[in-house]
């Protein structure tokens, strides 16, 4: 029962809390206001209008067309896409390598266990920056100059200016190409469904499925051969035409992948070892094949252990992609937080935008992990 005294105490507490909240709010407003005024007085914050101004500098590598007449806004997008590319490639490659290493860490073969353990301990105990500078120096010093580039079958070339690959020219063939690719995809999809159905019924896949897979593969090969490939040609200072992968890009991806794969390997190992030995033995006793044991018995509970720390590793890769600025690859930090900031002097706006990008990306990874975790979590009935 609430008596009048308690009611009064409650009311007083409410008023006190409201007053404290109000004071904190006022203080926050005052601080924000003072900050804005002081920043303006120092010429440090003057709005986001610069995003529509011409940037005036070129970017060596971009996924969208950017040149010296592009705006700072476009430079921001180009840098962002480059950062996303690095982070995505780094995450995929580190995950693949990390899983392979992690499985090898618990392999029954002692030499394999020993080697992977050696790799993990060596790689994860050196700073990422060291890996990066090492790869940059290795590529710069050990690969030949562009004049003496190593030819790879006469269609690709490797030098310390990068790897030059042939690239298909999508001219008037684009429609034909797209429809062929679409047909191949449809055929592959039907084949996959037939395969799956057959397997779940414990039957051999029908002849039609095999025929469709072969057909889609053949179509793909035909498309690849029939394309108008543009092979890089040495002219003047550099190779022209085709696709050019900058050495800075390669060293960055290599460093991010090799370094983070070592951590992911340990996470995967921990996940696998967290599954009780008894369960494995029980599954074997029931006559499940080793592949079935891995897929049905070990992986589902192991994922619960693996996913949260691996998500941490992914956010690390996203943030570490900003080390691109050290080797001079034009990522967001390099072109926006670096060059654009220096040219415009809009430190506050640019730092805030860059910080927001990393914040949003890392938060997205956290949300995706949470959703995934909920799906694989133990359902307690």
């Amino acid at each position: 029962m609430i008596g009048p005294r308690q009611r009064r105490a409650k009311r007083v507490a409410f008023i006190q809390q409201a007053l404290v909240l109000l004071a904190v709010g006022l203080l926050a407003v005052l601080i924000a206001r003072n900050t804005v005024i002081n920043l303006q007085a120092r010429g440090l914050a003057s709005g986001f209008d610069f995003l529509w101004q011409e940037a005036g500098f070129k970017i060596a590598f971009a996924l969208i067309p950017v040149d010296a007449t592009s705006t700072y806004g476009r430079v921001f997008v180009a840098g962002l896409l480059n950062s996303l590319l690095i982070a995505a490639l780094g995450i995929i490659a580190a995950t693949l390598l990390g899983f392979l290493l992690g499985i090898a860490r618990v392999s029954p073969s002692p030499p394999l266990r020993f080697l992977t353990r050696g790799y993990v301990e060596l790689v994860r105990n050196l700073p990422l920056l060291l890996h990066l500078l090492l790869w940059q120096a290795v590529i710069l010093r050990s690969l030949p100059t562009v004049k003496d580039a190593i030819g790879l079958g006469g269609i690709a070339f490797l030098s310390n200016r990068g790897l030059y690959l042939p690239m298909p020219l999508l001219g008037n063939q684009a429609n034909l190409l797209l429809s062929a690719l679409g047909a191949a995809a449809v055929m592959a999809a039907i084949a996959w469904i037939l395969h799956r159905r057959a397997r779940s019924h414990g039957e051999a896949p029908p002849l039609l499925a095999r025929g469709l897979s072969a057909g889609s593969l053949l179509l793909l090969v035909l498309v690849l051969i029939g394309l108008d490939w543009q092979v890089p040609q040495l002219s003047g200072f550099d190779y022209r035409g085709g696709l050019k992968l900058m050495p800075e890009f390669v060293s960055l991806i290599a460093a991010l992948t090799l370094y983070n794969a070592a951590f992911i390997a340990e996470i995967v190992r921990a996940g696998i070892q967290s599954v009780d030995k008894g369960q494995r033995e029980a599954a074997a006793a029931l006559g499940l094949s080793s592949r079935q044991i891995l897929r049905l018995v070990i992986v589902p509970p192991a994922l619960r252990v693996i996913v949260p720390p691996i998500a941490n590793q992914y956010t690390h890769i996203i943030k570490a992609s900003s080390l691109a600025t050290v080797v001079g690859f034009p990522d967001l930090v390099n072109v926006f937080l670096g060059t654009s900031l220096n040219q415009t002097g809009r430190a506050v706006e640019i730092v805030a935008m860059t910080a927001a990008v990393y914040l949003v990306l890392c938060a997205a990874v956290a949300l995706a992990t949470e959703a995934f975790n909920r799906r694989v979590a133990l359902v307690e009935r």
Partner: protein, 341 residues
């Protein structure tokens, strides 16, 4: 009623507390600290700001900061050099962590107006050019079409490069590095075909290469680069002191005052111009808020402008840069200082 209105306005403006530095605030801060904080290059700008193996700074920019410390604090040793990469240099100045920047920054419109900096006046008139390997057999910029060009991130060089190549319909790939060292490593390894920077900077960096004679610097210039010491635009008194210290060094050269004869001339020169500069007559030092012998202290530190140039960049140095535009106006150059009067 009006009185209340007035006090309300004052109260409101106090609450807003715009932190505009009052006149003399930076000067007072430096004096209270007893040390001038001068932002320089990372120590590799040979002739401008160089750090040697023993941890000693030298160079034209360094000598200017020492002269300023001597004028301001009476002691050339009371200066702390903060090595800054170019991309951090302006932020360091804006945030107030250095008092003055003397690290090869060009005086430009945006920096002067929008970024609210104040330029002391060019201590060196430079221009952007290119350094290439002689073995490339290129001798002019027009030959560089399609080349990969090394450039430092966030510099005016990066913009000038884009502008010039666009105007002249030349293609190029920028190889952007944060430091001069990385740019030079890239050039040596043929990662890029040319390295672009101010001619003075190029001449200095060439000395640090394994085989300096294998490189050539173009005579062509694609930009005007008036390198100037830079301060925040918040203390006119500090600007006066910084500017007049520089003018004192230039006037000293014009008047024939050197580090060797400055003490003697301060006492015995019959020339009224020298007497005013040396504080023998008038109270020019006091008007700056300094000791009256401020200029004597500044000039005694590293000599006049000409001495400083020759020792660090000219015939007395390894760089061997001719004075060219950096000669006195009386000798066909652009170096000119207003009179002390």
């Amino acid at each position: 009623m009006k009185k209340y209105l007035m006090s309300a306005v004052i109260a409101a403006s106090l609450a807003a507390a715009p932190a505009l530095a009052a006149e003399g605030e930076r000067v007072a801060a430096v004096k209270a600290r007893g040390e001038l904080i001068c932002g320089t290059s990372t120590g590799t700008a040979i002739g401008l700001s160089t750090l040697d193996e023993t941890g000693k700074w030298s160079g034209l920019e360094v000598d200017y900061c020492r002269a300023l410390a001597a004028a301001l604090l009476g002691d050339a040793a009371k200066v702390k050099f903060v090595p800054l990469e170019f991309k951090n240099a302006f932020a360091a100045l804006q945030s107030g962590s250095v008092d003055i920047l003397a690290r090869g920054a060009s005086w430009t419109f945006t920096r002067d107006t929008e970024m609210k900096f104040s330029f002391i006046g060019p201590y060196m008139y430079d221009g952007q050019s290119f350094m290439v390997k002689k073995s490339r057999n290129v001798s002019k910029i027009a030959d560089l079409g399609g080349a990969s060009i090394c450039v430092s991130a966030g510099t005016t060089s990066e913009l000038n490069l884009s502008d010039y190549f666009r105007v002249n319909n030349l293609d190029f790939t920028p190889i952007v590095a944060n430091s001069r060292e990385q740019n030079l490593a890239n050039l040596e390894a043929d990662r890029c075909d040319a390295y672009t920077n101010e001619r003075g900077g190029l001449a200095a960096s060439r000395l640090g290469l394994a085989d300096p004679d294998a490189y050539v610097i173009f005579d062509e210039i694609i930009s005007k680069e008036p390198l100037s010491a830079t301060i925040k635009q918040d203390d006119p008194a500090f600007h006066d002191i910084a500017a007049w210290t520089y003018y004192a060094l230039v006037n000293a050269e014009e008047l024939g005052i050197t580090s060797a004869n400055v003490t003697e001339l301060a006492n015995s020169s019959p020339n009224p111009e020298v007497q005013r500069l040396m504080g023998k007559t008038g109270d020019f030092g006091t008007k700056l808020g300094l000791a009256n012998d401020w200029a004597v202290k500044a000039i005694a530190t590293g000599g006049n402008y000409g001495e400083i140039f020759e020792r660090n960049l000219g015939s007395g140095s390894r760089v061997k840069l001719s004075r060219g535009l950096n000669n006195l106006w009386t000798k066909g150059g652009l170096i000119y200082a207003p009179p002390v009067r």
